[in-house]
């Protein structure tokens, strides 16, 4: 509606009329209600989280206050007051090592190839779609895959005789494959987000394709790639379903080797998610607290990993501005 000022009325009245038009319209009730709803949703989520945290931390408190070191260094036992998390920690540690050593380079390499080198053909688009599908496949399927290939078919490689293929190596390889599509996708997105002007600048001064990628594309995409790596590591840490199939031990686990003994890679193992599951299922007294304590440890590890990721990402982002 156009602002009209009646010609027959004096300037003071004209001012008032403009003022009236500008100040009319009451408060935005609809917008306000919407805002309240949004805050309520956020509040609800936070409430749930806080409740869970409080519950878990509360339940686990006795374990930490009474026998923290013992808990962290102990092995799986039938008695709650003797059981410890150490073997779970070791198993999960080595699984993460496998993920880092295998999935990270392969995933980043695949992403670089797909984004920088591959021509835009039907085949490359087909490959891209398939990788995205793979990221959505339920993890149990990966478990089956891992069981079939690493536990059974490649048993001689992944395992000592007595372990029957149900080893850390099998689990590590399985989880590396599970996590690979995620790494590829997030690295692809990060590389795709690098502005073309940067590449052009690099080519313009006479750099080869690899030099442009190494000096310009990768550093620029680093924050995004790192975020993706940490996401996939956290995922690898928390997945239980494949571990069940690939044979993480649920009961007692013989042997108590040092962390760095590579021989254990081909022996039976356990990992954090499985430990938590078992303790949570155990009806005997004291295991609730153990389960909660293990959950707290996992949470702490995830928080540390995320913090490291954020710090690294910030460092690379600062370099880019």
């Amino acid at each position: 509606m156009a602002l009209t000022t009646p010609a027959t009325v004096g300037p003071r009245a004209a001012e008032r009329s403009v003022a009236d038009q500008l100040t009319k319209g009451g408060a935005d009730w609809l917008g306000g209600t919407f805002l309240v709803l949004l805050i309520a949703s956020l509040g609800f989520c936070v409430l749930v989280l806080v409740t869970l945290m409080v519950d878990v931390i509360g339940t686990s408190a006795p374990v930490f206050s009474e026998r923290f070191v013992d808990f962290m260094t102990g092995t799986l036992r039938t008695r709650a007051d003797e059981a410890g998390l150490y073997q779970g920690l070791v198993g999960s540690f080595w699984i993460c090592v496998f993920v880092v050593v295998l999935a990270f380079p392969l995933g980043i390499g695949a992403a670089l190839y797909l984004e920088e080198y591959a021509p835009d053909t039907r085949f490359s688009r087909f490959v891209n779609v398939n990788i995205r599908n793979l990221a959505g496949v339920p993890s149990i399927v990966y478990g089956i895959l891992g069981f079939t290939i690493f536990t059974k078919a490649l048993r001689s490689f992944t395992s000592t005789g007595r372990a029957n293929g149900l080893t850390v190596m099998s689990a590590g390889l399985t989880l590396a494959i599970l996590v690979l599509p995620i790494v590829i996708i997030t690295a692809s997105e990060a590389v795709r987000a690098v502005p073309d002007s940067l590449r052009e600048a690099g080519y313009g001064v006479g750099a080869t394709r690899w030099e442009v990628i190494r000096s310009h594309v990768l550093p620029y995409a680093a924050p995004g790639i790192i975020t993706g790596l940490i996401l996939s590591l956290a995922r690898a840490l928390g997945e239980a379903a494949p571990l069940i199939l690939v044979g993480a031990t649920t009961g007692r686990l013989a042997g108590d080797p040092s962390l760095l003994d590579l021989g254990q890679l081909r022996e039976r193992f356990t990992a954090l998610p499985i430990v938590v599951t078992e303790w949570a299922k155990n009806p005997n007294e004291g295991f609730d607290e153990l389960a909660a304590a293990a959950i707290v440890v996992m949470l702490v590890i995830v928080v540390i990993a995320n913090t490291a990721a954020i710090l690294l990402r910030n460092r690379y982002e600062k370099k880019r501005t």
Binding site: E200, G202, T321
Partner: protein, 291 residues
């Protein structure tokens, strides 16, 4: 007593070029220029679409040649042919010949990376690397494997771009933190650090304010003796001020597909193009008579 009017015919000298007229209205002639780029019947396609056709032009040494014309007429496309930058677009295809000192740039044996070390480029929007000023300038020589004192090379390039005094105390500072005009001069320094023979400039001043623009135009005049410069510009006054020769491109509609293809209309000395062009289309464009 009749009025003496000079109607002497200009001397028919094939190789010399007209560089204005002296006090008696006689045309001044300069010795012949050496040809750096010779473009013959060039057409550039993106897939099936012909973006520009039938371009014939020569770029001379130590001259500034301007490409002018409306949007979509192919001037940037042709410019990017000179340093094989069109290779970066997968669907781009070149027909015809672009020779550099007689060598066909699109010959299979020719390495585009080597081409780009000798033919530098400055882009429309300043795009310094997100690294320090020093690293920005040093990058080109480094990947080219240039031996020698890198500090000297960087300093010389920054001097050449007229940026040294402003940044000499903060070479480690990020290149992105500079102002727009400074960033563009940094990009110029980066381009000349590899000691190229040719500088291609794609609307280098279009993102800059008038003062930064004037600085860069002055710079172009200063470095003209050391390089050969080809500049694409939308700003006609800039082309008139800065260039020795001007090439005017325009677009024509393809009736079947309702697309427009660019073509070269006229190439001549800048003085002639802006005082008395031969083609009506050129006249209409430079006077802004028709859009």
């Amino acid at each position: 007593m009749s009025v003496p009017i000079n109607l002497t015919e200009p001397a028919a000298v094939d190789e010399s070029v007209s560089v204005g007229h002296d006090a008696e209205g006689e045309p001044r002639r300069a010795p012949a220029a050496e040809v750096v780029f010779a473009v013959a019947d060039l057409s550039v396609y993106y897939g099936d679409f012909r973006a520009v056709r039938d371009v014939n032009v020569e770029i001379n040494r130590h001259e500034i040649t301007a490409f002018i014309g409306p949007s979509g007429c192919g001037k940037t496309t042709v410019l990017r042919c000179f340093n094989r930058m069109n290779d970066l677009i997968p669907t781009a295809r070149v027909e015809g010949k672009v020779t550099y000192h007689g060598v066909d740039l699109y010959d299979r044996e020719v390495n585009p990376v080597e081409v780009r070390r000798r033919i530098g480029m400055v882009f429309q929007k300043p795009n310094p690397f997100p690294k320090s000023i020093y690293e920005n300038v040093a990058y080109g020589p480094k990947v080219a494997g240039v031996k020698g004192n890198m500090d000297d090379i960087v300093e010389r390039a920054l001097h050449g771009a007229g940026l040294w005094d402003e940044v000499k105390s903060r070479l480690k500072a990020s290149g992105i933190g500079l102002s727009g005009g400074q960033q563009q001069r940094l990009c110029i320094a980066r381009a000349i650090a590899t000691d190229p023979e040719v500088l291609l400039m794609d609307e280098p001043c279009s993102a800059l304010d008038p003062i930064a623009t004037a600085r860069i135009e002055d710079l172009m005049q200063e470095i003209k003796d050391q390089y050969t410069i080809v500049i694409v510009t939308h700003n006609m006054q800039q082309a008139a001020r800065v260039s020795d020769r001007t090439a005017f491109f325009t677009t024509e509609v393809n009736p079947e597909s309702d697309t427009r293809t660019g073509l070269l209309v006229e190439v001549d000395s800048t003085d002639k193009m802006f005082s008395n062009p031969s083609d009506d289309r050129t006249e209409n464009y430079v006077t802004g008579r028709f859009g």
